[in-house]
Symmetry: C2
Subunit: 524 residues, 2 copies
């Protein structure tokens, strides 16, 4: 299809009258047509009004209808064909295979949430039957289910143009929860966003849902996003991006007459602990795996391994040598945007020029305008513990190795790192005691703890936690990847002694939805 | 035992050196010994340090050990005997039967959470087994459980000196979640608080738990509470009280370097909708039930029915007449504190003198210094819809009847009320269509919807939701009463490919805890 450069509000496609947005191919520096005339408060108002109007109908769709809608979105995205991955490559500089994989993940995620909707665990049905003969007081019939919070604002992320953008994890889980979604598309990939947005529009129409279930806004600057979060009809926010962006949205959400939850996934350096026995036995293989994880997607992952912790000595030296060789041999990769590239160079520069940081290796210089030249650095634990600046996230392929005097100092480093999405242990059987000693600290610091793997590559499943203590995310009680992400957009409602005819169907006698229920506290 | 007027920090009993606190018997206006020398930042520091130190051990207690601890607290509270209810009566002006009932609820609540801990639903165990042969990529083993957030600050409420105070719902659910608790006792009932606090101290010692699992602070003014919420070791806050108090704590929690969740239950006027057929058929009985609910505990319940909505006409007039007669005959009741009494009189006065409010009835005048003289008022829906002040909560026995022109205007009133803990419908079979039309609006406004009952008297069970949209609470996704309250103090952690010896016991193969689990998305 021909991209029209439009905002999608319900079933309409319109032009805003605020500042223009135009994508740039980061590999060439050339602009990509069409121009998107950005929206502002007027378009936020329209989208939110439609979303509010759609909510009453959409939240009471049957499990089957809602699941089919999510599956229809997936099919419509697949039906776009090559145009989607080609435009994605042009707008992001990511390789085609990555875009293809990400499309698979995006559609797989939508289908996972369809199965989650059908299974009905998200309803959290609880029934405490009446006990008319209880002494001293009878108990009345009490039943609980979850309902969607209301319209949700989703901010597309720059680094996942499909899987965390217009039809990504936040949108899929909010729609699964029964919440209409208003997306603020990321300005770096408007064409990819429009293509996906039109696929959702088609799915809405095919499923005969109210048009306000989905809208897609574009706008440069912060005004449109702030207006969206401030709109009284918006009841929750999903965001993946920078710490400054996330905290700004949190402040806006808290300053509303009615504060709302913001699920912001912000920054993480994903510490990797190399325990002594594993380092000794297979330091070279670990170093090779590390370089692969570091360079994946030019390091533009929230789960990029930005910090490696080991005990100083010959084994760690050998690891650093091998990893350094790997980094030196790393080909340059195009970064997502000039902004991301500039921030990466600033971060790398700050490390490279830090008086207490040793420069180990840089990757090959690139020829394009936004090339990422991977970096590996070393500092002592003493210096790390004394300088918060060494914990700053460098978004892109950059990692800092921390040399500890001993295992106790590794523990002190673990205690002092900020909240993280992930923490990784490389360990052998002989490291078990050390790992056991570290684990309680690691559990307080991260949402996911891995052994003998790499944090990049997040499985979309039921047990996944892509979350973690602040500042990794704004709300450690939640995950933004996996089926439990749906709970971010739900709230419980209790029904006391309602006549059968007034009770929501999911709560009626005989369990018409066939869902798992907690009856008098017992799982059925 | 002799009350010592001490703060309880771990196993110690100490005196602060800040302003004194002394309870006042609201029925007589006389002070009650002993004097409590209030604490400040130094005592917050000590209590939080101990809580932090206790957390690592306490959060990994076995299900059985933690359940036994909660049961031991209940037994220790019961072992205090008459002294507890007598002191409670003296400090609150509530009748002895109420204190006895509340003690039963408090101990029942602790035992409910013991059973909740043992059942292990709170762990939310999720297991996605490895799929080594999956194409194109294998899946590694992923397992999830919930852990406690860390030390929790609990603020005792004035209106539930036992059930929402030192060992109340917030404390019970936080302890059940594996979180040490630092209570800021309410200054109106320090003696009752000390008695219960000492019972918890004894339970901690008997169960050989680290002393920092529980501390109880006293202090006048806002400083000690603000210091507690600002302490970096505190990871969540439970509060029941005024809107101004709740929002002040929310602001402090958000301004921390690491923001934390605040569960504040603040204000609710609990609308009661009298649907036409029910009003016609049994308006008199409903009016009598209403007066009973209105006057219960001098109206000092978060769930007091402060707003009644009906269609203007002979049936509503008859309801108002009967309710007015009931209110006129209501005996005066002592209110909790001079502060509560003063605010009640101000609120009643504002209604009584409002140009668009009709005064229907006041209860009997009392002789004591803090007597509640129940009030019933009427206003038109037009005036109500045009004046936010008529939605202000009057804490105490006061209710405003709203006369609507028709059912559509009832719907408009429903749409315009703020977030509530409860909304009640009085309805007969002939009202079903009207109720169905109202229900979607009511679900967005309240955490609990009742038919043909009264919102006062909250069942402590699994399906209960004592929560609701802002400003009823700060977080509509949660409940502060019932077993689901435990989820406020938990966060998920995912373990990826951990060796069996490092995995938390609850997640190991063979389900050693025997808990309900989600395996590959299926409930087992």
């Amino acid at each position: 299809m021909t991209l029209e450069g439009k905002l999608l509000i319900g079933q309409q496609a319109i032009s805003g009258n605020q500042a223009d947005i135009q994508a740039v191919n980061p590999a060439t520096g050339k602009t990509l047509d069409p121009v998107y005339h950005g929206g502002g408060k007027a378009e936020v108002e329209q989208a939110c009004e439609l979303a509010e109007a759609a909510y009453a109908t959409y939240r009471e769709t049957s499990l089957e209808d809602r699941a089919v809608f999510l599956e229809t979105i997936a099919s419509e995205i697949e039906a776009i064909g090559e145009e989607l991955t080609e435009r994605g490559v042009a707008e992001t500089g990511l390789p085609e295979a990555r875009l293809q994989g990400e499309r698979g993940r995006t559609c797989g995620q939508l289908r996972l949430f369809a199965s989650v909707v059908r299974a009905g665990e998200w309803l959290d049905v609880r029934i405490d039957p009446a006990l008319p003969d209880r002494e001293p007081m009878p108990r009345v019939d009490l039943r609980q289910r979850h309902i969607g919070l209301g319209p949700v604002a989703v901010f597309g992320a720059s680094n996942f143009p499909l899987a965390f953008s217009v039809a990504g994890g936040d949108t899929a889980s909010a729609l699964a929860a029964g919440c209409p979604v208003v997306v603020k598309g990321h300005s770096a990939h408007p064409g990819t966003s429009e293509l996906v947005g039109r696929a959702i529009q088609r799915a809405v129409a095919k499923c005969n849902l109210p048009e306000g279930v989905f809208s897609l806004l574009f706008g440069s600057g912060k005004e449109i996003g702030q207006a969206l979060v401030a709109d009284p009809r918006i009841q929750a926010v999903g965001f993946t991006g920078s710490r400054s962006g996330g905290t700004a949205l949190m402040a806006t959400a808290q300053a509303r007459p009615q504060p709302i939850p913001v699920y912001a996934e912000m920054s993480s350096i994903n510490p990797v602990f190399l325990l002594p026995e594993a380092l000794k036995a297979r330091g070279k293989a670990i170093a090779e795996g590390f370089v692969g994880s570091l360079n994946m997607g030019a390091g533009q992952f929230c789960t990029n391994p930005g910090l490696v912790i080991g005990v100083k000595g010959a084994d760690l030296d050998a690891f650093i040598d091998t990893a350094g060789e790997g980094v030196k041999g790393s080909a340059a990769q195009t970064m997502l945007t000039p902004g991301v590239h500039g921030a990466y160079n600033d971060g790398i520069g700050a490390l490279a020029n830090h008086p207490n940081v040793r420069n180990v290796a840089r990757g090959q210089a690139g020829e394009g305008p936004n090339a990422c030249q991977s970096g590996l650095f070393v500092a002592s634990a003493t210096d790390f513990l004394g300088d918060e600046a060494l914990q700053a996230e460098v978004f892109g392929a950059s990692s800092l190795v921390i040399e500890c005097a001993n295992v106790d100092e590794m523990q002190r480093v673990a205690s002092q790192v900020e909240g993280q999405l992930t923490i990784t242990l490389h360990m052998d059987d002989g490291d078990l005691a050390t790992a056991k000693q570290l684990l309680p600290t690691l559990e307080r610091k991260a949402g996911r703890i891995l052994a003998n793997g790499w944090p990049t590559g997040v499985e979309v499943c039921h047990a996944m936690v892509h979350g973690g203590p602040y500042p990794a995310t704004s709300d450690s009680r939640t995950t933004s990847v996996g089926s439990a992400a749906i709970f971010r957009f739900l709230r419980p409602v209790c029904y006391q002694a309602l006549p059968e005819g007034l009770l929501p169907e999911a709560l009626r006698d005989g369990n018409p939805y066939g869902v798992s229920r907690l009856v008098d506290g017992k799982r059925e």
